[in-house]
C-alpha cells in the first residue's frame, strides 16, 4: 500500500524524528511541571494542556484557580469550527467561586529574560519567530515585544470585543491551519501536549462559527484538574523536548532538509507552526 509521506506533525512522529528522539540524552528533555499542567477529561479520553505562565501569568493563575474550584467540571465543548478552533466553557449560569471573571489582556509582553530559540526562516506574520519555553513564539526586536503564536494545538482565552474581557473562563484550542491573525489579539495560555486528536476529530458544530445548536451535541468535559493536585502515582510523567537542545536543532534541520528517499525536493526552510514539538512519557 502506498503511503503519502512521513509526517511533520508532533502527534505522530515519523521514523527519522523517532530515531533522533531515541538517541537524545535525558538532559535534552524537560519534565513538564505538574503545577502548570491541566488534565481535561472527556468521555473519550484525556486532553493534557501545558500552561505558559511566562507569557500569561495572570491568566494561568486564574485558570488554575477556576480549575481548582471545580469551575470546569461538567462543562462542555460548545463550539467546533472546521479549520479553526474547538472551544469550551461552563454553562452560562455558572457562578465563579474563585478567581476572576475577566482579566487584563496578556497578548504580548516586553522581551525579557525568557528563553528564545530563534528559527532562521522567514515568517509571513512576524519579524522573528522561534521557541520560548518550548512554545512557538514571535518577537519584534524594533518594539521589544514578544508573544506566543497561534499554531496547531495552542490554547487561548476567548473574549468579547473588549481586550480585557477574557480571563480564562472560555478556552479554545487551534484545530486547523494556524490562524496567525489572532496573534496579539488573544491571550494564549498554553498548548495541548497530549490528546489533541480528541478535540480535532469532534463533529463540527452546525451553528454560526461552529457553535453547537443542541445541548446534546456538545461533548461533556467531566472534570479538569491541575496535574499537581492528582496523586503523584496517577500523574502522567510527561517530558517536552527542550528547544534549546542539540537534538531539537538536529530535528529542525532534518525537517528543513529532508534526507529520506521519498523526498525529491527539499525547500530548505520550515515554518514555525510546522516544527514538531515532541512530548513523551518519561521512559
Amino acid at each position: 500500500m502506498s503511503v503519502l509521506a512521513v509526517s511533520a506533525s508532533a502527534s505522530a512522529a515519523p521514523v527519522q524524528v523517532s530515531d533522533l528522539l531515541a538517541k537524545a540524552p535525558a538532559a535534552d528533555w524537560r519534565p513538564i511541571d505538574p503545577e502548570n499542567t491541566l488534565y481535561m477529561d472527556l468521555p473519550a479520553g484525556r486532553v493534557v494542556i501545558e500552561l505558559a505562565p511566562a507569557f500569561a501569568p495572570n491568566h494561568v493563575a486564574n485558570i488554575k484557580a477556576l480549575v481548582r474550584s471545580g469551575y470546569f467540571d461538567d462543562s462542555a465543548i460548545v463550539r467546533v469550527q472546521d479549520n479553526y478552533v474547538a472551544q469550551w466553557s461552563a454553562p452560562e449560569d455558572r457562578k465563579i467561586t474563585a478567581g476572576h471573571d475577566t482579566l487584563k489582556a496578556e497578548f504580548d509582553k516586553p522581551i525579557g529574560p525568557e528563553p528564545f530559540v530563534p528559527l532562521r526562516d522567514p515568517d509571513t506574520y512576524a519579524p522573528l519567530v522561534g521557541f520560548s519555553g518550548d512554545f512557538p513564539a514571535a518577537r519584534d526586536p524594533k518594539t521589544n515585544r514578544t508573544w506566543l503564536t497561534h499554531c496547531y494545538g495552542m490554547v487561548g482565552a476567548g473574549r468579547d470585543d473588549g481586550a480585557d474581557t477574557g480571563g480564562g473562563k472560555e478556552l479554545y484550542a487551534v484545530i486547523g491551519q494556524s490562524p496567525r491573525n489572532l496573534d496579539r489579539n488573544v491571550t494564549l495560555v498554553g498548548r495541548v501536549v497530549q490528546g489533541m486528536d480528541l478535540l480535532s476529530s469532534l463533529p463540527r458544530g452546525p451553528g454560526d462559527m461552529g457553535f453547537y445548536t443542541k445541548e446534546g451535541d456538545k461533548t461533556v468535559i467531566r472534570r479538569v484538574r491541575v496535574a499537581a493536585d492528582v496523586p503523584a502515582a496517577e500523574r502522567l510523567p510527561l517530558e517536552a523536548l527542550r528547544t534549546d537542545s542539540s537534538t531539537f536543532k538536529a530535528l529542525v534541520q532534518s525537517r528543513r532538509f529532508r534526507k529520506e528517499g521519498w523526498y525529491k525536493y527539499s525547500p530548505g526552510r520550515i515554518g514555525v507552526c510546522n516544527v514538531p514539538l515532541p512530548v513523551r512519557l518519561k521512559p
Copy 2:
C-alpha cells in the same frame, strides 16, 4: 457568551466576508466545471472535490477514468493522521479496468499561460505565492516553475518512494497545518470545495501514520462520480469566487487589515493558506 473571533476559514464565512460576498457581482463567481468535479459519497454525506487539470492533466484524466470505471466505489478512508491527512483508496486486491496504475509525476510545471494572481506577502517556503485557477499556488520566477501548494483541503495523489509511483489510485486531503514540505513532492490534483468537515472530523487511525488497523474502523466510500455524469438536475451548482476579481482583492485586503472592533492588532499580512477561497451554491 463570549466568542473567540470571526473566522478566516472558507468553511464558515464570517460576517465581513459574507458581506463582501453578498455584494459581489455574478461575474465575480466562476461556475465549477462538472467535468472536473468529483462527488465522493460517505455515509455521513458528500465530499465535493474540484480537480485541477491545469496543473495535473494526466492525473486528473486518470482519476476520472478510474472513477468512471467504478474503481473507487466501495472503497474506504484508510488513514487519518492528526494534523496531517485523510487518505483513501480501494481494497489492495482491486484491479483497475480503466486508466493507468501509475503515472509520471506532475509535481510542478513550467510557468505558462495559466492565470496567476500573486499575493504580495512573504512566504516561508516559496519565492512567490498566489492563486492559479482559484487554487493556492506558488512560482519560482528564477527557474520558471509553478506548482500548487499544500493548503488545508488540498487533495493529492499518494505515492511510494519513486516519483512516478503515484497516479491517483490513492488520494489524500490535507486536514491540518499546511504541510508545505510536501510541495513539489506530490502531485496535487485538486481541492475539497464542500464537505471538508466530513474528512477532518474522522477519528484518527491508531496505527503508524494514522492508518486504521481494523477494517471496521475505516469509513466506507460508497461511490465516487464525476459530476458531469450525474443528471444535471441532481448536480450541485457550485461556484468559486474568482481570485482575479475585485471582490477577492477586497476580501484579501480585509483579512490583512482587520477592521472589526474585535481586532486590537492587525498584522497587515496574510499567508497563502490563510486566505479564504469561497465556494457557494449558485443563487
